[in-house]
């Protein structure tokens, strides 16, 4: 096979059985890689009623045909599982170097099943795959774990691991890649923790074969040209990283502030990308083969590390009423080391803060309280005190107190740092995402804020469904190839279709890609329908529908009914958000029982 390595590893931890399988060529052609492989495998192998933290759930890591090639940003890979936070089908995507090196070890996919009796540490060095005692690493923070693995395994290994939060089955825990990139959302760290897997390390020296090297080189040249010409990919991200968005989003009236009670933060300047560059930036850093170099190495008076990214700044900064960039950075370092998703963490703590403000809970914490927030991060990671309740995420936590209206989530996943009252298309994306409120299931920040590919009126609720759907479907393909979504600011689906064809020798048009994206998206939807999700879960919290935004979004609410109805029609679904038989037939998904 060209592009793919043609092999899959399957590890069953119930009996420590390790096997390798040939990659199904039809799976490769129809589902590409990464998220496509993960969603299809999960759909086929994990029944909807399994306990996400039980041994029947699986962790599926997959790279794509462009991974470990010269395609810029091709260091991404994905993990798919049933989420303990949302109970939906779930995939998460990460950068770093683990994915490309896994491919160099000779594989396209790693499926982990069952549960180990004791903590284990897995190593993959091409044909040598071993399950080792991980007890000595258990309980360690992510930085220390990474360091210990580097010392014990020697040169050339790339490490992926969980922190104490994952070990303690915190439902908002991450899997860390190279200690500073992450599979961030959905509590995937808890799934790895439930299997007693502390870390997975890989080493290899192989390279994927390219079908048409000459044409591939031409395509790379053309892609590089666009990346260098585009001001976002060549200037803004290298200069400020993702935090370039802070001021832009605030000026649009979409920066979540004090648990989304306001949409404009008066101190945004103090936590902006410009402030990071002036106060705490040490240097830029990059994932495998990435010219954007959006990662930031930073340092405060007391600590050093990577980040914070835009999402952390919004959720742990303005959304908690905190405007001290050093404090935000330190909370980011701590969360990364303990292995917690800062988006869900910020959304959960802000929920607690508002409940405290309204006297709905005995625990006292005010917006802006840095010390107590830091204390809570440790408590959550250990499930100590109120941290045990917060470790369940904001939805379950607030439901316990009859206050779910203060949990800003969709399907249990906390909202990222874009308020839907300031960006209506973004809100529609949250409502309809198969994994809950996610900013990467269609990136409406492009047309609603950045003018990519063209500027849309961000307050207009009408006529955006088609655009969003194309983005949602296209991003399935981006996650499957697997490359970084930021590169799509510069090049679109036509580039990726041609790159794919030159790498694999399998001819696909840009429309074929969108068709594959639609099929996978719909399959994920069917999984959720069978798991009991319905139109009732395609809903934003009432705050966004009833309480107007502030600042530049003053007076704006999210017009959910109009937008959802248009979206369902544009998808070819019925008024309840269920794909019609004609649509399922068109996608080759007819005959699947999706009834709960």
């Amino acid at each position: 096979m060209y592009g793919w390595m043609g092999k899959v590893i399957r590890i069953n931890l119930n009996d420590n059985k390790v096997s390798t399988e040939k990659l199904d060529e039809n799976l490769a052609k129809e589902y590409i890689g990464g998220r496509g492989f993960g969603s299809k495998t999960l759909f086929d192998e994990v029944p909807v009623d399994v306990d996400p933290l039980g041994p029947e759930n699986k962790l599926i890591f997959a790279v794509g045909p462009l991974t470990r090639t010269k395609v810029p940003t091709s260091g991404r890979f994905s993990v798919s599982t049933k989420s303990p936070l949302t109970n939906t089908i779930f995939d998460s995507n990460a950068g770093g170097f683990w994915g490309p090196v896994f491919k160099s070890a000779g594989y396209d996919m790693l499926i982990i099943e069952g549960r180990a009796e004791k903590p284990v540490q897995i190593t993959i060095n091409e044909n040598i795959i071993s399950i080792n005692d991980g007890s000595k690493l258990w309980g360690k923070g992510i930085k220390e774990t990474d360091q210990l693995l580097k010392e014990s395994l020697g040169k050339g290994y790339q490490n992926m691991m969980i922190g104490p939060a994952g070990e303690n089955l915190v439902k908002i825990s991450i899997i860390s890649v190279n200690a500073h990139r992450a599979f961030g959302r959905g509590g995937v760290g808890a799934v790895m923790g439930s299997k007693n897997v502390k870390s997975i390390s890989v080493k290899g020296s192989k390279q994927p074969e390219i079908f048409d090297q000459e044409k591939f080189d031409f395509m790379i040249y053309e892609t590089d040209k666009w990346i260098k010409a585009n001001p976002l990919t060549s200037k803004a991200f290298p200069a400020f990283g993702t935090s370039v968005l802070v001021n832009l989003i605030n000026e649009a009236g979409a920066l979540p502030t004090r648990n989304f009670q306001q949409t404009y933060f008066e101190d945004a300047d103090k936590i902006s990308g410009e402030t990071i560059a002036n106060k705490i930036l040490v240097k830029n850093d990059a994932c495998y083969n990435c010219p954007l170099r959006c990662s930031r190495k930073t340092k405060t008076n007391k600590m050093e590390g990577f980040g914070p990214e835009y999402e952390t700044i919004g959720l742990m900064g303005s959304n908690l009423g905190i405007s001290d960039i050093e404090a935000i950075a330190e909370m980011h370092y701590i969360s990364n080391d303990l292995g917690i998703d800062t988006i869900s963490l910020g959304g959960t703590i802000s929920c607690l803060m508002e409940m405290s403000e309204k006297g709905l809970i005995d625990y006292k914490i005010d917006f802006g309280d840095i010390d107590k927030t830091k204390e809570l991060i440790y408590q959550i990671s250990k499930r100590e005190g109120i941290g045990d309740e917060l470790a369940e995420g904001s939805k379950r936590f607030s439901e316990k107190y009859g206050a779910v209206q203060y949990s800003m989530q969709v399907k249990g996943l906390e909202l990222p740092s874009y308020d839907p009252r300031g960006m209506k298309g973004r809100g529609l994306g949250y409502a309809t995402s198969n994994r809950g409120a996610c900013h990467l299931r269609g990136y409406m920040i492009g047309p609603e804020i950045l003018g990519v590919p063209k500027m849309l009126d961000r307050f207009n609720p009408v006529g955006k469904s088609g655009f969003l759907i194309n983005q949602q479907d296209f991003f399935v393909v981006v996650d499957s190839l697997a490359v970084c979504k930021f590169v799509t600011f510069a090049v679109g689906e036509e580039f990726f279709a041609r790159l794919f064809s030159t790498v694999t020798g399998v001819e696909k048009s840009q429309q074929d890609f969108l068709d594959i994206g639609e099929k996978v998206w719909t399959m994920e939807k069917l999984y959720n329908l069978k798991a009991g999700f319905s139109k009732n879960e395609d809903q934003l919290p009432k705050r966004f529908l009833e309480e107007p935004g502030t600042g530049p979004a003053a007076g704006q609410v999210f017009e959910q009914d109009i937008m959802l109805s248009e979206y369902y029609r544009s998808r070819g679904w019925d008024e309840n958000g269920i794909p019609t038989n004609d649509k399922l037939k068109e996608l080759g998904l007819e005959g699947i029982d999706y009834h709960a």
Binding site: K215, Y221, K225, K454, G466, I469, D473, Q511, R569, G572
Partner: protein, 198 residues
């Protein structure tokens, strides 16, 4: 929506990409199409010139919709486009008469379009033949030319489809100037010989 239609229609005319009553534009929202009225004055579209009809099913709107409705429907069914601009760009039509593919010489169109396939049909207006060949080609290109007739461009919004149309016409104009003036082109682009493979 009317504002977008009006603006794009006017600009197509000003660029010599349509005659006074030529070309047609549409957007898709779900299973509905909004398309210019047959015989409407494209540079001065009124709200009454935008006709709504079904993507799949006929209704009374088809009595008023553009002659090219069939082609628009075919494109929407074959692609995930949500906007279409069909124009009659003068320079591109001239080029299409003796070319199977238009490869721009200028930098911008080279970046954006690389190449524009030229398709040929016996019945060039509103035919099933055109619907099939144009729909198929637009699965892999954002704009194509129908020999002797005009361009079909797709996008996520009208502005995008208009941009490809405008880029094509400027590129074609440059090629025609170069040809008519007999200019000896000094190639400045690496791998430009590969653009035809795009």
């Amino acid at each position: 929506m009317h504002e977008q239609f009006k603006q794009v229609g006017r600009d197509l005319f000003l660029q010599n990409a349509v005659s006074s009553h030529g070309g047609n534009i549409s957007v898709r929202v779900g299973d509905r199409i909004h398309i210019t009225r047959r015989g409407s004055m494209i540079h001065n579209l009124t709200e009454n010139d935008i006709i709504e009809t079904g993507l799949n099913e006929d209704d009374s709107g088809i009595a008023l919709a553009s002659t090219e409705l069939k082609v628009h429907r075919g494109i929407y069914k074959s692609t995930t486009a949500t906007a279409i601009v069909h124009a009659h760009p003068v320079n591109a039509i001239a080029l299409s008469l003796d070319q199977d593919v238009i490869v721009p010489l200028d930098s911008e169109a080279s970046y954006v379009l690389h190449k524009i396939p030229v398709l040929s049909a016996e019945h060039t207006i509103g035919s099933e033949e055109v619907m099939n060949i144009v729909s198929d080609a637009l699965k892999n290109y954002k704009i194509v030319m129908l020999r002797g007739h005009g361009s079909f461009a797709i996008g996520n919004m009208l502005e995008e489809a208009y941009q490809w149309t405008s880029e094509l016409e400027v590129a074609a104009q440059i090629i025609n100037i170069v040809r008519s003036a007999g200019i000896n082109v000094q190639e400045y682009r690496k791998d430009s010989d590969k653009y035809e493979q795009w």
